[in-house]
């Protein structure tokens, strides 16, 4: 299907090629974005979306290829060039200065003179105008650090507009937004489109793509594999294009035989730095021999809940019960909780699960380095920890099988297997697994899923937190859904849940915060 009259291109990328050392991040990428449209770009992590947009915004220069803006070839060597050509970018991590006011942030780089006073007056007017035109209202004198993420994102968009951007790139804009905020954002993007501005939306959420974009492109392993009108495609087709082959994520597992409750959370509340509740009054149970999947849009309190259960984040109120016994507050720390038989695969292995500059064998004892098996008294025997990891490497097929290699030198999948081997070989009663397959290749995903099921079958209580709904549905015996820090539902998935559209729709509502009472 083609559009009848091709709209003029706002931006055209022709044969963009970019390598970082051995990594070929963009391979002859060609993309045409029509003016006055919303164009989605989807792809898995590491597919090359961010690199492509960074080239467009002047962070990197392409090794080869051409960029055309409004039909004319341009060279974009810096953000300054990009801004000059009317390109604005809203980064996933906001580029804002917390200690400055909204006005100062918007003005930065567009001051309009050596003294700020005159420019400030002009920008105040512009802010008011954009507020009226696009519903982008925000107090210009508020300190950015005091604003919520939704408003901060608004400031980012205003920054781009004040600089006269006609092409707006948004990188995973909804990752940090509540569903309501996301809706507001999309409404605003729609108004921008009507003003003939061009929007490039980078996301990995297919629902968003289907809901707001005019056209969509799919990237996979550095290549642009598909570009089509959104109306002419389906989430299934896009997912196929993203992954490359049709993998219906299934995990071979028998029926569960749930035993007694091994992990229980009672009215857990976790507060953030500024006293804002990140997890509010959450209660649930996980039985032995059961995998509970915790679903939700990233940033809805799942990570904080997981860290609270693992003893890393303090509880503001509520309690945790392990095998029926309340964990006393003195034991609510990672060390004591681990000793109670809880294993924790953290969501981010780089930040938390491993020590990258250490030898793998040393990373592989993090948290269990007090185990008497690794040495008498105060000693930590290198010989023993190396032998220990060598054994685990064989069992988990970790490559290269060299326990003395630096942790950072293993691939993501193998790093994750090191964490898994460490946490699971302790024979824990409870396993918390955060994003267990993030950034891991297909082969390792299967392996990790099999392991989790094996743990379940061995009578452990397993809690999996994942933003990949497919993974949750494939693994879980029971699904918990979080939104805005609250538990919005608990469902037992029907057989073949992933292809059950009513069930998926129901989960989607729960993830958007539509609870039973409200529904």
């Amino acid at each position: 299907m083609t559009t009848a009259v091709p709209a003029p291109a706002a931006i055209e990328l022709i044969g963009i090629d970019k390598s970082f050392g051995a990594v070929h991040a963009n391979k002859a990428v060609t993309l045409r974005v029509a003016a006055g449209s919303i164009h989605g770009i989807v792809g898995e992590n590491g597919a090359g979306k961010s690199t492509l947009m960074s080239i467009l915004y002047g962070f990197y220069e392409a090794d080869r290829g051409e960029i055309q803006v409004g039909g004319a070839p341009v060279r974009i060597a810096s953000s300054r060039d990009a801004i000059r050509h009317g390109i604005g970018m809203v980064h996933q991590h906001f580029m804002l200065v917390d200690t400055l006011s909204v006005l100062d942030n918007v003005m930065l780089g567009a001051e309009g003179g050596a003294l700020v006073a005159r420019g400030a007056a002009a920008i105040r007017l512009k802010l008011a105008e954009f507020g009226r035109a696009y519903g982008l209202t925000v107090d210009p004198d508020a300190l950015v650090g005091t604003l919520g993420v939704g408003l901060q994102q608004r400031v980012e968009i205003l920054k781009a507009l004040v600089r006269g951007a006609t092409i707006l790139i948004l990188d995973e804009p909804t990752a940090v937004l509540t569903p309501a905020e996301a809706d507001q954002l999309f409404a605003m993007l729609d108004r921008l489109r009507r003003e003939n501005k061009t929007v490039i939306l980078i996301t990995h959420k297919l629902r968003e793509i289907m809901a707001v974009t005019d056209r969509v492109s799919v990237m996979r392993r550095g290549e642009m594999v598909l570009t089509t009108d959104t109306a002419a495609t389906s989430p299934a087709q896009l997912a196929d294009a993203m992954v490359g082959r049709r993998v219906l994520l299934t995990v071979a597992k028998g029926a569960s035989t749930p035993g007694p409750v091994r992990l229980e959370a009672r009215n857990i509340t976790v507060l953030g730095h500024n006293g804002v509740p990140l997890v509010s009054d959450v209660s649930f149970t996980v039985r032995g021999g059961e995998i509970a999947g915790l679903a939700g849009v990233a940033g809805n309190g799942q990570s904080e809940l997981l860290e609270a259960l693992a003893g890393i984040r303090p509880l503001a109120s509520g309690e945790i019960l392990i095998d029926g016994c309340p964990v006393p507050s003195a034991a609510h720390n990672p060390k004591a909780i681990r000793a109670l038989g809880l294993a924790h695969v953290p969501e981010d292995r780089h930040r938390m699960g491993l020590v990258m500059p250490f030898e793998a064998a040393e990373s592989a004892v993090l948290g269990i380095h007090g185990d008497p098996a690794f040495g008498a008294g105060p000693w930590l025997s290198r010989r023993r920890i190396v032998a220990d990891l060598a054994r685990k490497m064989a069992g988990y097929d970790i490559r290269p099988a060299d326990p003395r290699l630096k942790t950072a030198n293993f691939s993501g999948g193998n790093q994750q297997k090191i964490v898994l081997a460490r946490e699971m070989e302790r024979d824990p009663g409870i396993v918390l697994a955060g994003q267990p397959t993030r950034g891991v290749d297909i082969g390792a995903i299967e392996f990790i899923h099999k392991r989790l099921v094996a743990l379940r079958d061995a009578g452990k209580a397993v809690l999996v937190v994942s933003v990949e709904l497919d993974e949750i549905m494939a693994l879980s015996d029971v699904i918990l859904v979080m939104c805005g820090g609250r538990l919005t539902g608990r469902r037992t998935p029907p057989p073949d849940a992933a292809s059950d559209d009513t069930f998926v729709g129901e989960l989607g509502l729960l993830m958007a915060g539509v609870t039973e009472q409200a529904a």
Binding site: F20, G21, A310, I312, N333, P334, K335, A336, R338, H344, P346, R351, M352, G353, L354, V355, M356, P357, F358, E362, V365, L366, G367, H369, G370, G375, P378, W379, L380, S381, R382, R399, P400, L405, K406, N409, F410, S411, N414
Partner: protein, 370 residues
């Protein structure tokens, strides 16, 4: 961060520091030449003056002792990701601890008094490290600023005590009375004399052995014990440390206390080994030498010992050089020290990209890790 430049391990541990130090000395040589002294002659004087005789060697090793202590102090803190600039203050307080025991425990026999005094020195030094450690761990103060302030606090405290309280009666100098004879740590001359070896009198004393012992103990502690593992983990990735059940606050305090105790070794060497009384400014900037030593020695005890020896040569040889060449003063050493800190520390990355290019150009490269 951008991808770190990856070099073979030996290049990282040996080649890069050597190049940095060579550059520092080259710049030092240029300064010497600019003053109008032949760098070649200066180097000769430096070497013979520091290694050319038993006496020279004794002085060299005596300086080396101080630098091992302060270098280890800085190196240990580095391992925990901390920058301890407070070696001067910690050593100063160590001196106070040692002096109090030596002055008020005069009746004790030497075999008891000396260990007690060393312990007191370590305790006082540890305390002066612990407080900034506590302030960083529990109150979020920046350790660099706090330790700098604690250096000055130590120096004013010592000034007050030596002028007002501890000054020897009838003395005009701000220093204490002499310690009892049995409080003196045996000198190298007296010990070697026992074995019938006659050597020149130098300030070298048994503290040198203590320093080497500390280096070995530190290596074992940091790389072979669970606590050492916790310290390194905290330094390399504090978030992972928390995840691993390690309390970074406790580690920071422990490390700073141990670091302060190590720095107080300077007091043992100077106050108990050489001066036998407490006096002002006996630390003589050795705490800062520790920074250069630790940077050069890659925060590893063996590296620290070797770097300390180099600085020992520099200090002793520099003194000879200053004696020999009126145009060169001992301040030369401080300048070279600065160059070493600059090139081996702040400009550590200067040669890496070039070396990396050389290494990747080499045909025989090991198959890279995945």
């Amino acid at each position: 961060m951008s991808a770190p430049i990856s070099l073979p391990r030996w290049a990282d541990l040996i080649l890069v520091p050597l190049l940095s130090v060579a550059t520092a000395f080259l710049v030092g040589g240029l300064v010497v030449a600019a003053i109008g002294v032949s760098p070649w002659e200066a180097t000769k004087t430096l070497i013979t003056g520091s290694l050319g005789s038993g006496e020279a060697l004794g002085f060299t090793l005596y300086y080396t002792t101080d630098f091992i202590f302060t270098g280890l102090a800085v190196a240990l803190a580095f391992q925990a990701g901390l920058f301890n600039i407070g070696g001067e203050g910690q050593a100063t307080l160590g001196g106070l601890g040692a002096a109090l025991v030596c002055l008020y425990g005069g009746g004790l026999p030497g075999w008891l008094l000396i260990p007690l005094a060393i312990l007191a020195a370590a305790l006082f030094g540890a305390l002066w490290g612990l407080v900034p450690g506590y302030l960083q761990a529990r109150r979020g103060s920046h350790i660099v600023i706090t330790t700098i302030m604690f250096n000055w606090l130590a120096s004013t405290l010592m000034g007050y005590l030596l002028v007002n309280t501890l000054r020897a009666p009838k003395s005009m100098e701000p220093e204490t009375a002499r310690f009892p004879d049995q409080a003196a740590i045996p000198s190298a001359k007296s010990i070697l004399g026992v074995f019938g070896i006659d050597t020149a009198a130098t300030p070298l004393n048994l503290s040198f052995v203590l320093a080497l012992g500390c280096a070995l103990a530190l290596w074992i502690f940091v790389w072979r014990t669970r606590k050492g593992y916790e310290i390194r983990t905290t330094g390399a990735n504090p978030t992972a440390a928390i995840y691993g059940g390690i309390a970074p606050a406790a580690i920071v305090m422990l490390t700073m206390a141990l670091s302060g105790a190590l720095a107080s070794g300077v007091a043992v060497n100077e106050i108990m080994g050489v001066q036998n009384r407490l006096l002002l400014e006996f630390t003589a900037g050795y705490g800062f030498v520790g920074i250069a030593v630790a940077l050069m020695g890659r925060a590893h005890p063996l590296g620290v010992v070797l770097a300390s020896l180099l600085f020992g040569i520099l200090y002793q040889g520099g003194a000879e050089l200053a004696f020999d060449q009126p145009k060169i003063s001992r301040d030369m050493i401080v300048a070279i020290q600065g160059f070493v800190v600059l090139f081996a520390g702040a400009l550590d990355g200067l040669y890496r990209p070039h070396l990396a290019r050389v290494f990747t150009a080499l045909p025989r490269t090991r198959s890279g890790p995945i």
